[in-house]
Symmetry: C2
Subunit: 140 residues, 2 copies
């Protein structure tokens, strides 16, 4: 099932309304390979002759993040759709420092090892949504 359709299902199942702005934002994020900022989305929507207030975009993104349908990519100040909707657990990113394309993955062993280190250092580890930087094949 497509990202948009799946997300709409989740919205409904949790009692959130399926509105035009929410669908627009989902479609914008769906269509992007690299992270998009709230204002990126604003422009994307405009280029289709439509309009969304940026405040609305911020609020929609907040909601989608809280549902783990999209993730914020800190190193880029943008948002991407979750690439592992069906897989629970900790999600990680490889981000190309040059062009921003990224790949999401999850790794049991890595997660475990990190948790161990955290505990050893007196921290109570929580979900990991980490980013590693590198260069994608195109940008090398």
């Amino acid at each position: 099932m497509s990202f948009v359709k799946y997300s709409i299902q989740v919205l409904r199942s949790k009692g959130y309304k399926v509105t035009r702005p929410r669908k627009e934002v989902l479609e914008a994020v769906e269509s992007a390979t690299a992270p998009v900022s709230p204002y990126d989305i604003s422009r994307m929507v405009q280029q289709q002759g439509k309009h969304l207030d940026h405040v609305t975009i911020y609020r929609v993104l907040d909601l989608l993040c809280s549902l783990n349908l999209v993730h914020k990519v800190l190193s880029r100040g943008g948002f991407v759709k979750c690439g592992l909707l069906d897989e629970p657990g900790c999600h990680r990113f490889l981000v190309c420092r040059e062009c921003g394309v990224l790949q999401e993955f999850t790794d049991e062993a890595l997660c475990y090892q990190e948790s161990q280190i955290a505990r050893r250092m007196g921290f109570y580890p929580e979900h990991h949504l980490t980013e590693s930087s590198g260069l994608c094949q195109r940008c090398r």
Copy 2:
């Protein structure tokens, strides 16, 4: 040797001038346990009856980052002194989601494992400056 003194040495050895603003910023970062933003630093300096333009603070922080004397903590939008000045290689953070205190560490095995995964996914891995979130002892 203290963080400030060490940093001043590095500045000199690379041909950068040791100026009042640079020393002020170093002292502000030195004194902080959690990440501080450029404007945080501005306020800290003011409370000592002094003044630094925020543009200068941004520029100083850029420089210190490029020399790996301080790191930017993305999840907090702030800067901290490097806690492993003598140890080369990839530096990582455990950040308390609640209060922001953090601990820097480095882990050979983790680094290796991550690089492997990156290569397997078609990325050329670079330095890792990752952040994991959790709860510190005080905040549990």
